[in-house]
């Protein structure tokens, strides 16, 4: 028997050419995907016969230091399926306008020669406006020429600016890092017009508020290679395999290098498969588990014995040794504000004494004022804002006491809230008494207060647990009823986690993601593990720390990019709006809820307190106090306002500001936030690009359809806010269809495109040049044009250029002269505004004077030149040269580089002046690279030199070795390049070292951008104290009844109630790839509704049955996936399906087309996250503010009785 035949006639093998021919190709091009997946993977795009055939991963990443696994290959199932889109039937190839609008437009243009007049003929007539609004989303698209599409969009913009003001033109595009220039094209266009950019990171609920709370940082985390440096990794709420697909190999490689991997996840998920321990914490209760972990760590590694590394770390890098005043409250004491230097005689005269905090010095037994607190950051004398433990008064060395135990004046009973059981616990802490001008104060260290909060008694009197088995906060026994996890497991987890950190000096790590950050109390759920990490000395260590991965938020060359993107080179400040507030208010979701105290009760919040009431009132307060932005800013057109100010004799910009402030104080000018439903306060024109704003990210999607679009909706919720709202104006009839025009720029006919009025075809990621970076690795990537933009598509940069040109043309007649615009914006992070409001005081209630930029929002006057919009768009303006660039509080000059760019070109000439060119995307990319510390070694050096002056310590050595490095766009196309050390970021990357957050802080003593300059375990803003969140704590999840998700919804025969959660899915990134045939084939042809097998059996559902899922907010109809891996009572509907793909109709809601996952949700804002004007609680775009929770909800599910399409 001949088993194998290796002598085959060679002629009989000629057919093998068949497959060889298929493999052949004509060229390859490097690109990547701009999809907010955090991948930032380098791809090789194959082109054959001028057609993109497929893509494969590039494997040429520059290596990191020896001993780390390489990055190659990066790129997942979704990325590798992208080539399907290019020529797919869902590709938007031409501009489209909905027929109902196009008919009106053509009629209007016949009547009116002028496009702006034509637009006004349509939208000022309610019947005409309603005619095309009600047609939204219901088919009837017509292909139009670019000329027609641009004219409609430009006319609507000009008309809106003239009639309502430029801040009624808004734009939404997510996460610029994934395609920086495509974002920048739109934002530059909007900002040059005076329009508004909506934030994304907070709206997606990707912003981990605990990062600004703890570190004064939006987000800074380690790159994935650094996971390999860890020896104990706990993953929570982060399904690494699904969402960090190109990175997760580092986890398995770390495991085989001896690391332990623990997964907290309610379902047996893909990442659980990777774990040594899978701990199925009840959904949303991770915080409770970590509170108990902290109890064990404090008891065994601090109280029982001391670990020198931990103690030293806590003293140097955290607020733990700082002193807090105990303040009388409800007949007892509560932990209050930190003790300020100017309260004591010794420091009464120091500059910014209100903003310098004190520790107790062990040597002298006296309070001392260490350097690095925020008062030093913004003082006139520079060089003392550093983490040296020295007294800023006399440079004396300080050895701070962590605890007063054994040296206290007394012990004092203090009240701590047990939110879980709505109780107060009285526990004693050791205190010192200090004399102040206002009398004696009782103070304790934050460390001692933490010990008390966590219930580690150390022999002190009070309601302390006697053992781990006592069921009181926050013992291992206490957490059992919340988490379902046995105390023994929690104790062992705590011990292993801390012992690992002790032995490795902090190489214990938490990886965390959307699964945690989408809960209402996301900040508390984060603070609990942060405490464990800080107690174990992990942040600022390679292989340690809190590593939050959600959106692709890290735009490496942030300083130069934001100058271009926000048009700071021509005019500033920009109008930047936190989207959660915008959508909560403008889409009228606030009208459907009553007092937030129903679902977020604060025990003991009586009398005049902000810790109760209706969120929309607090939102309005946050706006008038300058904490949060809000656009439209006023109930008046900001251009007209300037005219009126000048007519009233206002002199210059200062005069305009003063006049405007006076109108606000008098109430003759109102914030739009105070009356958002009045027509003069509506947003009017909405640009959507690079995202799926109407569904994928639209929490409360059905309310978007109702109040923004004025089309059909499946919500049955009732409006209940009337009785609760006190300050904001209530209109009996809620507005439907606030938006005059929705423009979607897209390559897919996704849900947002389907519901928009105008759809413009954009180039895909293989058809344009752009830049990409991520926090998951440290390389800069290009997107490149493998083929020219297909059909009639154009890149986003070119589309917005074309729009700028068209607006400029129409402005010739309508806005021919430069005009002044008064811009209202909140107090700004990383500026002296951080010292604006030591206490909360409302000028409208006469608690203080109304002063712009201090107790009120900032007001600024900006000149707009609409005729020159296009020229400004394509050139880097003079303000960049004059003012330099900067980010995160770092600043550097670029005038010489600017001049060099003008000399060497390319340049744009305009009215006799020469500017560096931003004409095409490559020019813009090169400008950004050239002017950024991350990509130009000389800029890095000079930024560190500037930073040295503020810090008073040497830093430029960090940039010395790379001073001659300079990347161009072509360099990136040849090979991804690693970013350089930069003071705009906190990690260090020299010599292939893996980036880990806060190494710059721990190793070079650069302060964190917080109140004390240290990591904050304690938050003493007035609102935090009022809300009982000054300490890390546990608050229960808002319940279904309190949230009113099913007040109107009737249960049906054979239906059960489930907690619907919407984690990230395996077969798409958000909604992108969801409609891709490859992904649909490998999944179930749609996004199924995952149910526990026993729950499904209870209502007679078998796998792949059609189900109807419904609550007050809306309805979903899809197939079921029945699986034992889903916990009982919980259902998973992965984020994010599309209404465009295979969605049947809903019998329960009038047999209308059912919706997507966000049809079941409604957003709620946690007011404590609105706090502002105070140190790290000072607004910056995407950095601070309430997040767009909740994406979890409750709904009933039943078998679909009848399938109709």
């Amino acid at each position: 028997m001949s088993w194998i035949k290796d002598i085959v006639d060679p002629q009989a093998r000629r057919w093998e050419e068949f497959y060889r021919n298929r493999w052949q190709y004509d060229k390859t091009v490097r690109s990547t995907h701009g999809v907010n997946c955090t991948g930032g993977c380098s791809w090789e795009i194959f082109v054959k016969d001028g057609i993109i055939t497929w893509e494969m991963q590039q494997t040429d990443y520059p290596a990191l230091e020896a001993g780390l696994p390489p990055y190659e290959p990066r790129g997942c199932q979704r990325g590798i399926s992208f080539s399907w889109y290019i020529y797919s039937p869902i590709r938007v190839k031409y501009p489209y306008v909905r027929g109902a609008l196009l008919d009106l437009w053509e009629e209007a243009r016949r009547e009116h020669g002028d496009p702006v007049a034509a637009w006004e003929w349509i939208v000022t007539d309610e019947a005409r406006r309603a005619r095309f609004q009600q047609a939204r989303g219901k088919g009837g698209f017509r292909r139009v020429s670019w000329e027609v599409a641009l004219e409609i969009v430009a006319a609507s913009s000009i008309s809106t600016i003239k009639r309502h003001g430029p801040d009624r033109v808004v734009g939404f595009s997510p996460i610029p890092a994934m395609s920086m220039l495509s974002y920048a094209g739109g934002s530059r266009f909007l900002q040059l017009m005076g329009g508004v950019n909506l934030s994304f990171y907070d709206w997606y609920s990707d912003l981990p508020n605990a990062f600004p709370e703890t570190w004064g940082e939006q987000t800074d985390v380690c790159e994935s290679a650094d996971w390999f440096n860890s020896k104990y990794i706990v993953s929570m709420g982060s399904n690494l395999n699904m969402t960090r697909t190109p990175d997760v190999h580092f986890i398995s490689e770390a495991r085989h290098a001896g690391a332990k991997f623990v997964v907290l996840s309610p379902d047996f998920s893909q990442v659980a498969k990777y774990a040594d321990w899978w701990i199925p914490v009840h959904a949303g209760q991770d915080g409770a588990l970590w509170m108990a972990v902290n109890h064990v760590i404090l008891k065994e590694f601090y109280a029982g014995r001391q670990v020198p590394y931990f103690v030293d770390y806590l003293k140097r890098y955290t607020d733990a040794p700082f002193l807090v005043e105990l303040e009388p409250h409800n007949g007892g004491y509560r932990p209050g504000r930190m003790l300020r230097a100017n309260r004591l005689e010794r420091y009464r005269e120091v500059e910014n004494g209100e903003w310098k905090m004190l520790v107790l010095d062990a040597a002298t037994g006296e309070p001392r004022m260490p350097k690095g607190t925020i008062g030093y950051r913004w003082s006139t004398e520079q060089g003392n804002w550093n983490l040296l433990m020295q007294d800023g008064l006399d440079n004396g060395e300080i050895d701070p006491d962590l605890t007063l135990l054994g040296k206290s004046d007394d012990v004092q009973a203090v009240n701590f809230s047990d939110f879980g059981r709505d109780a107060e616990l009285s526990r004693s802490v050791p205190i010192k008494r200090f004399e102040t001008a206002e009398g004696p104060v009782l103070c304790a260290t934050i460390f001692d207060i933490l010990m008390a909060q966590f219930g580690v008694g150390r022999g002190l009197p009070g309601a302390y647990p006697a053992s781990y088995d006592d069921d009181i906060p926050y013992t291992p026994a206490w957490q059992e009823s919340y988490t379902g996890i046995d105390r023994q497991t929690v104790i062992r987890l705590a011990r292993e986690f801390a012992e690992n950190a002790e032995r490795t000096q902090g190489r214990s790590m938490v990886i965390i993601g959307a699964g945690i950050n989408h809960w209402y109390h996301n900040n508390l759920n984060y603070r609990a593990p942060i405490v464990a990490l800080v107690l174990c000395g992990c942040p600022g260590r390679n292989g340690g720390g809190m590593n939050h991965y959600v959106g692709q938020e890290k735009l490496a060359p942030v300083a130069s990019w934001q100058s271009v993107a926000m048009a700071l080179d021509w005019s500033k400040p920009p109008r930047l709006q936190n989207a959660p507030s915008f959508h909560y208010v403008h889409s009228d979701q606030w009208r459907y809820e009553g007092d937030f105290t129903r679902y977020h009760p604060v025990p003991g919040a009586d009398g005049e307190t902000d810790a109760r009431g209706h969120v929309v009132d607090l939102q309005a307060k946050a706006v008038r106090l300058g904490w949060l932005p809000f656009y439209p800013q006023f109930n008046r057109n900001s251009l007209e306002l300037v005219q009126e100010a000048m007519a009233s004799g206002a002199d210059g910009d200062e005069g305009i500001v003063a006049w405007t402030a006076e109108q606000l104080r008098r109430g003759t000018l109102r914030f739009a936030a105070d009356d958002p439903d009045a027509p003069e306060c509506w947003p009017r024109v909405w640009f959507i690009w690079r995202g799926n704003a109407l569904l994928s990210s639209a929490k409360g999607h059905e309310y978007f359809l109702k109040h923004y679009l004025g089309t059909h909706t499946n919500t049955i919720a009732t409006e209940v806010a009337k009785e609760s709202v006190r300050d904001v104006v209530w209109h009996e009839e809620s507005p439907k269809g606030k938006l005059d025009l929705v423009v979607d720029i897209n390559f897919r006919m996704d849900t947002s495109a389907l519901y928009s009025d105008v759809v413009l075809p954009t180039a895909t990621w293989y058809e344009k040049d752009d830049l990409n970076s991520t926090d998951l690795h440290s390389y800069m990537h290009p997107l490149s044009e493998a083929v020219p933009p297909c059909w009639e598509s154009k890149s986003d940069w070119e589309i917005f250029k074309a729009l700028a040109k068209k607006v400029g043309e129409l402005a010739e007649q309508h806005l021919p002269e430069p005009v002044k615009d008064v811009v209202c914006l909140p107090l700004q992070h990383d500026t002296p505004d951080e010292l604006a409001q030591p206490r909360v005081a409302d000028w409208r209630k006469d608690e203080c004077d109304g002063i712009p930029g201090k107790t009120m929002p900032r007001l600024a006057v900006v000149e707009r030149d609409y005729r020159r919009l296009y020229e400004r768009f394509i050139s880097l303006g003079p303000l960049a040269r004059r003012d330099g660039m900067g980010a995160h509080g770092v600043h550097y000059a670029i005038d010489d580089l600017y001049d060099e760019m003008v000399r060497t070109g390319p340049v744009v000439e305009s009215q006799g002046a020469r500017y560096p060119s931003l004409d095409d995307a490559q020019d813009a990319a090169n400008a950004i690279l050239r002017l950024s510390p991350e990509c130009n070694g000389e800029v890095s050096y000079r930024a560190f030199a500037e930073e040295e002056k503020r810090i008073g310590l040497t830093l430029t050595d960090l940039a010395e070795s790379s001073r001659d490095v300079r990347y161009t766009f072509k360099d990136l196309q040849r090979q991804p390049r690693r970013v350089l050390n930069s003071p705009c970021w906190s990690g260090l990357v020299s010599n292939g070292r893996a980036y880990a957050a806060y190494c710059l802080n721990t190793e070079r003593l650069v302060p964190w951008r917080t109140l004390t300059g240290r990591q904050h375990l304690y938050l003493d803003h007035d609102w935090y104290i009022d809300f009982g969140e000054q300490l890390p704590t546990y608050k229960p999840r808002p319940g279904v009844v309190a949230l009113r998700e099913m007040a109107e919804t009737q249960s049906q025969a054979s239906s059960i109630r489930v907690n619907v959660v919407t984690p990230h899915g395996k077969w798409h990134i958000h909604s992108t790839y969801y409609d891709n045939l490859r992904m649909l084939t490998l999944s179930r042809g749609m996004e199924p509704f995952w149910l526990n097998d026993k729950d499904a059996a209870e209502i007679g559902i078998v796998d792949n049955d059609w189900v109807e899922v419904f609550n007050d907010n809306g309805v979903v109809v899809t197939r079921s996936a029945v699986s034992a891996r889903i916990p009982r009572g919980v259902a998973f509907y992965y984020h994010s399906p599309e209404r465009t793909i295979s969605i049947p109709k809903s019998p329960l809601r009038g047999n209308r087309r059912a919706g997507g996952h966000n049809s079941l949700t409604r957003t709620r804002l946690n007011p404590v996250l609105m706090a502002g004007g105070y140190a790290q609680f000072t607004y910056a775009f995407n950095y601070w503010g309430p997040t767009g929770v909740n994406r979890d909800t409750w709904a009933l599910v039943r078998k679909l009785p009848e399938l109709t399409w």
Binding site: K5, V8, F18, G139, A257, F268, T1081, P1144
Partner: protein, 497 residues
Amino acid sequence: MDVRRQVSMVFHLDKCIGCHTCSIACKNVWTDRKGTEYMWWNNVETKPGTGFPTLWEDQEKYRGGWELDGDDLRLKLQRKGGALANLFYNPRLPQLDDYYEPWTYRYQDLFDAPAGDDQPTARPISLVTGEYMNIEAGPNWDDDLGGSPIYAANDPNLEGVSEEERRQLTELERLVFFYLPRICNHCVNPGCVAACPMGAIYKRGEDGVVLVSQDKCRGWRMCISGCPYKKVYYNWSTGKSEKCILCFPRLETGQAPACFHSCVGRIRYLGVLLYDADRIEATAKVQTNRLIEAQREMILDPFDPYVIEQAKRNGIADEWIDAAQRSPVYKFVKSWNLALPLHPEFRTLPMLFYIPPLLPVMASMKKATYDIDEREFFGSIESARVPLRFLANLFSAGDIEPVSLVLRRLIAVRAYKRAGTVGDITQAQAGSMLDAVGLTEEEAVAIFRLTSLPTYDERFVIPPYQREAAMEELFGDPLAQKGETGFGPRARPRRGA
């Protein structure tokens, strides 16, 4: 000794993340055309699960592979009356429903729907009939335990797993899944080759890649039945069968196959094995419990001077011997006994080997709380969530010992690395764990390095193909080929030809 060479493969399942990037890399390049829609030369299955095509492992249903009949080895398919009797009617052939009906959507409706009173949506339509369809199956239908009461519970590998353990597999304490990526095993004793009545399937001498000649194939489809892994597919458009070609056009140009290249979990290794063709028959005929051992014995030591001499006599170039010596596959399969064949009892001598996965430890429920009572730092194999019997049914024909040894070795290496970097496991403890599984410290370091740190070139040691020599044989002068390649017509397989 008849030394042959095989480009062989290892998949490290502990590293597999179930992402299916491999599947799409393959689909994009090879099966994205008419007639191949349903083909997944590379697919990934969730285990426990029923796989693709459904229940492919159930050879009572499909009669794939070989069986011993006394001293004879014969195709299971030929059990009754031989193959030819069933040439025109093969009841063992998987049907469309065993795969799935490929579909797409009426995407165009989103653009073209006339103005109406409700939102348009793109409904699924069959790629076979063009009609509206209900999607009831797909190539990855039971992904991540989707439909687990129907699919996972019917995994053929649960045979011999106790009722108690089966029940627990759906409970919190023991619930588990992992992934099994599959391509053609490029077997040394391939069932497909033996089953083909046309002699259209051959195993290439230079690298062992098994190919279906698109010239010779007449679409009898006996190969589909003969392959117990169901890795040959019928192209309904060309009327020919097609299968994984191990991306030979890439191999021939020094590149890893697309699915290997794109494996973002970095689980795949590729390298040359030398084996003794004289021992194929005997190896395929050993008793079931000896199969793994016998196959390892068939694989030759590329450092052995006698093997080298015999290899050269068979015309194997020095460079290939060098590649065999550097082969990561050789290390995992033979030096360390860490990689095992999938279903060796099918007796096709598959040349793709799997390192079975470590999985989370079990827990126990105490009234209402979940407790991990395992006391070993990394857990022990006894406490692993997946019953060893299940893994043994997959990778060692039901014999627990080989699987157990692999897992204990993986844990020992981890413990050794932890002892050296953290110290909460002591050096002495780690040393005794290594001793117990027969590994030296040097081996532990080497295993760690090849598992955790390998670069692209260390994972894929691709032998030099010397195409000029092959072309000389095929086309004559390579210089002429330099000028002519690509000018010829791109011949497509023709139905019936």
